[in-house]
């Protein structure tokens, strides 16, 4: 290596980055070359100055704390904990159970709706619409006494265009229920009433099946089903009368 080449390698030489062969060559050159020796000394001197007079900055203590806190926040959502796993599993079980119960009760509701329609249709086919034919609520209501263990409200809505036709006993969801029959023009309406499982009132829910409209609701601890081939609007009017 000539003088220029060696001068270019003085920095890696001073930094201990050269292989042994080249380092030996430079050492030998330094013994004979004052200029290079001078440059090499300056590099070392600067290094000493920087180390002594410009010591590296140290991270402030509160920065360390801040970084740790930020990292903890970062992991919070990702941390696996038995408690979290347990809570998640428990939630899943509750949700699944709830969904299952909902599905069961929904299918039960559907089964009842089917029965309601079947009862309605049967009452029309068998000319067994009523056991007690009367438009007088004071005749119909006492007829149920002793036949069932609850007393349904019976009202005539002839003034509103829904005259009471009569009443009978029917069978719904494994129980004996009251069936009140009303008429709107030529359309008979069956109203099934039985004691409700739930205490609180629920607003009417309507469903339509095979051309029949059914509305069911709960009031004063009684479960009501109104079913008819009447259009939905008029059935709603009727239900509003019953709900009063």
């Amino acid at each position: 290596m000539n003088h220029d080449e060696i001068r270019d390698l003085l920095h890696p030489y001073a930094d201990g980055e050269l292989d042994l062969v080249r380092a030996r060559e430079i050492e030998q050159h330094l013994r004979s070359c004052q200029e290079c020796r001078h440059s090499e000394e300056q590099i070392r001197a600067l290094h000493e100055t920087l180390l002594n007079d410009a010591p590296a900055y140290r991270a402030p203590r509160h920065l360390r704390r801040k970084v740790r806190a930020a990292l903890r926040r970062e992991t919070k959502e990702r941390v696996f904990s038995p408690w979290l796993a347990f809570a998640t599993a428990a939630t899943a079980v509750v949700v699944l159970g709830f969904v299952f119960i909902q599905m069961k009760s929904a299918s039960r509701e559907n089964a009842i709706v089917d029965q309601v329609i079947a009862n309605h249709v049967r009452s029309l086919l068998a000319t067994h619409l009523v056991d007690i034919a009367s438009s007088d609520q004071h005749t119909v209501k006492p007829w149920f006494d002793g036949k069932i263990d609850f007393a349904p409200d019976v009202h005539d809505f002839a003034m509103s265009g829904f005259p009471l036709v009569g009443g009978r006993l029917d069978y719904l969801d494994g129980k004996t229920v009251v069936a009140l029959v009303y008429q709107r023009n030529k359309h008979p309406i069956n109203v099934f009433i039985s004691p409700a499982a739930e205490v609180h009132d629920t607003p009417p829910v309507s469903s339509t099946l095979r051309g029949y409209h059914i509305m069911s609701w709960t009031q004063r601890e009684m479960k009501y089903w109104a079913v008819s081939d009447l259009n939905e609007t008029e059935l709603c009017q009727f239900v509003n009368l019953l709900e009063r």
Partner: protein, 174 residues
């Protein structure tokens, strides 16, 4: 009965990377040239490093972490102080110059901490990082090359130029 458990990844990160927080702050401090920006850079870089920690395969955690610190610092510099970053040191222009300073001049003078640190801060960013990593952190050329994302030859010439500039600054105090 149940207790929040420490993430194993976090404890590994704290063991492997956080010991280099001083080096990270030192690099960020010289690159950003003020304490508040340096702290912000270190905090952001720590979070990024933690997110990428899965990709780290145990070779050199200091170099790996410092590279992230450096990238965050440059991103902030380019965004907030683009004028600083357009200063490109012309290696060809300065390459042939030999500093004409007397040996030991910088040594003879009692240099206080502030003067020397201020001298480093006058250098372009690429030189500041090379000097900081080499002289203050004792990093090898290879490590500096990895952090800066340049070949070792570039590290070599940057260091040589940076030292020449520093010697000039220190021998000609304003």
């Amino acid at each position: 009965m149940f207790r929040l458990t420490e993430s194993p990844r976090l404890s590994e990160f704290e063991r492997e990377v956080l010991p280099h927080l001083d080096a990270a702050y030192n690099l960020a401090r010289f690159l950003m040239r003020n304490d508040q920006d340096a702290q912000d850079v270190v905090q952001e870089a720590s979070l990024r490093a933690f997110r990428f920690f899965e990709n780290f395969r145990g070779e050199n955690s200091r170099g790996w972490f410092l590279k992230i610190v450096r990238n965050v610092a440059y991103t902030v510099l380019k965004k907030n102080r683009p004028d600083e970053m357009t200063v490109v040191f012309d290696e060809e222009l300065h390459g042939g110059q030999t500093p004409t300073m007397n040996a030991g001049l910088a040594l003879d003078r009692a240099q206080d901490r502030q003067t020397v640190r201020a001298a480093i801060e006058q250098l372009p960013a690429e030189f500041r990082e090379a000097i900081t990593l080499r002289e203050l952190e004792g990093a090898s050329y290879k490590e500096i090359a990895d952090v800066a994302g340049v070949p070792i030859g570039t590290v070599m010439s940057r260091l040589a130029r940076a030292r020449r500039q520093l010697q000039l600054i220190l021998s000609n105090p304003k």
